[in-house]
């Protein structure tokens, strides 16, 4: 504290807001710095904690080298302006890769490329080693049957009941009879911790946000896909439901060994579920590695990004 401030305090004078203290940081910045540091510390704790508890893919898949299930190689994509430039990363069998980044950086576009709903201007996307970049529409539909997708808003068909929603991919692509379909629907609803008898005949409009997401996951799982894609699975949910959905994604990886790509801006959930994190910044992958590597990085943008949460 300066002599001038000391004098003012003794005399009961207060500093006018327009008077700047050149020697000290503004209070808001100081507080923000403290909060960011605290959050960063929390993330580091989460990373260390979950690294111990996180299911290694080997738990389900056994030891030995795991194959690359999804790869994006030198992807370039532009609409009216560039969206992605030289984007390269991969997911091995049983991995959960979380793609994080600021809003509007093209995270969801990556999912559309993997689903072959979009075709990159350059580069290639491979699924199980097969290049899907230039597939015809019908062949792309077949590749999509290997994948389950959970949308940001769940995207349940609102003219169908929960049962019909979860049964939809089974009716479309399998020859299961109605009893087998019902058994599968019940199994998947139970997997996402929903009571089949209670929810099966409900319409999507009657469900809460969290229940819709869980039904969305059950529908994505119905065909037993080897790949699950999640677009902002925890956005717009309260902390408790966020934890439930995060737990479900971890459960999927642990119990079924499903390879997952999760697009999220929820960095805390990302640290809990990710085998690898891909940070999308300035149209490129700025970081690709484990959560521990991310918190341990000295990269200024990475520190700033983590601090921002």
């Amino acid at each position: 504290m300066t002599d001038e401030e000391d004098r003012r305090r003794q005399q009961g004078e207060r500093r006018h807001p327009s008077e700047k203290d050149e020697t000290a940081m503004p209070r808001r910045v100081r507080d923000s710095g403290r909060v960011r540091a605290a959050i960063r510390t929390e993330l580091e704790e989460v990373a260390e904690d979950t690294a111990e508890r996180r299911p290694g893919p080997d738990e389900k898949l056994g030891p030995g080298p795991r194959q690359k299930v999804i790869t994006l190689e030198h992807i370039y994509l532009a609409f009216e302006e560039p969206i992605l430039e030289n984007v390269t990363f991969h997911a091995r069998e049983g991995d959960t890769v979380v793609v994080v980044g600021e809003s509007g950086t093209g995270k969801s576009t990556i999912l559309k490329l993997i689903l072959r709903l979009l075709v990159p201007d350059q580069g290639k996307v491979t699924i199980d080693g097969d290049d899907i970049t230039h597939l015809k529409f019908d062949d792309a539909l077949k590749v999509r049957q290997k994948m389950g997708m959970v949308f940001q808003g769940a995207a349940l068909f609102d003219s169908m009941t929960v049962y019909e929603n979860v049964a939809y991919p089974l009716r479309e692509h399998t020859t299961l009879d109605e009893d087998e379909i019902e058994a599968r629907v019940r199994e998947k609803l139970q997997f996402v911790d929903l009571d089949p008898d209670r929810v099966m005949e409900q319409m999507p409009a009657e469900l809460s946000g969290g229940m819709k997401k869980r039904v969305g996951i059950a529908r994505g799982l119905a065909n037993n896909p080897e790949i699950m894609l999640y677009d902002e699975p925890t956005s717009g949910l309260d902390p408790l439901t966020t934890a439930t959905i995060t737990y479900l994604i971890i459960k999927l990886q642990r119990e079924l060994g499903v390879t997952s790509i999760v697009v999220s801006h929820d960095i805390r959930s990302a640290f809990r579920m990710a085998s690898k994190i891909a940070l999308l910044a300035n149209r490129r992958i700025g970081f690709f590695g484990t959560p521990e590597e991310m918190t341990g990085s000295d990269d200024p943008y990475l520190r700033e990004f983590l601090g921002g949460f």
Binding site: L117, L141, K142, A155, L156, F157, D158, Y168, P169, H173
Partner: protein
């Protein structure tokens, strides 16, 4: 500057037309390709056909009556009131029945299809269909187009009959013409246009080929704007309005050219 704007607008129009015709080609092509979504087809036939019955009945009935009223005044001038049945039947079967049924269905069904598909687009349900390995055109567009192609001629037949029936009431009440005379002249009109394949009256060919085309126009325009929806709920409203306006204008424009062709082909 102006040239660039014109150039961009022309390119957008050509591109939209191309997209529309690609959608139409795929939707019609999928009619003959498995899997057939029979349940969806019957559901759409119910929504388009049975659902539109009330509005079509009302429109046809009052159009027939007002047409008879207006015609009666004119025919009285020439002492030709015996021919009112012919006039009503000719107008309803060839022109008013198909066009009015088309406009009513465009307003009721076209807007419904556009709103439904538009909502599905903005809530990612169309993307969900794609990711579940289903072609949205086959699942959503083809059943709607086929249902409209089947139901529009049926609705038009009902509209024609109710209109002619409405005319008979005015002929009896206002002009005092016996029902037997009215219906005799109605059949004379139908038979006077000649026949196709010896048995099918040309008036029926003209009257039923139009609603078939209008059914295609309404369903395809609605599906096109519905699937192209962007911009959230506001976009759904825009798609709905565009559907009704575009389909209505197209019905009237196509009706003119179709009439020219049909008159040339089926002139008695």
């Amino acid at each position: 500057m102006i040239l660039d704007t014109f150039n961009d607008a022309a390119k957008r129009t050509v591109y939209s037309l191309q997209e529309f015709f690609v959608l139409a080609g795929k939707a019609l092509g999928f009619i003959f390709v498995k899997p057939f979504y029979a349940a969806d087809l019957f559901q759409q036939m119910d929504a388009i056909g049975v659902g539109s019955l009330g509005i079509v009945l009302l429109t046809g009935f009052f159009t027939g009556m007002v047409l008879a009223l207006q015609s009666a005044v004119q025919l009285q001038t020439f002492g030709a009131t015996d021919y009112i049945g012919r006039l009503i039947a000719g107008s309803m079967i060839r022109e008013l029945g198909p066009v009015l049924a088309g406009l009513m269905v465009a307003g009721r069904v076209g807007s419904g299809i556009a709103a439904q598909l538009g909502s599905m687009r903005v809530t990612e349900q169309i993307d969900a269909l794609n990711t579940l390995g289903t072609d949205p055109i086959k699942k959503l567009v083809t059943p709607r187009v086929l249902a409209a192609l089947i139901m529009m001629p049926i609705l038009t037949i009902i509209n024609d009959f109710v209109g002619i029936f409405g005319g008979s009431i005015i002929a009896k009440v206002y002009l005092g013409k016996p029902a037997a005379l009215y219906w005799k002249t109605v059949f004379e009109q139908i038979l006077s246009g000649g026949f196709t394949l010896h048995y099918i009256p040309n008036d029926f060919i003209q009257g039923l080929s139009k609603p078939f085309v209008f059914g295609g126009i309404i369903s395809l325009v609605a599906c096109y704007f519905g699937l192209k929806t962007s911009g959230g709920t506001e976009g759904v409203g825009v798609a709905t309005t565009r559907t009704v306006v575009t389909a209505s204008i197209l019905i009237l424009v196509v009706d003119y050219f179709l009439t020219q062709v049909l008159l040339a082909v089926f002139s008695p």
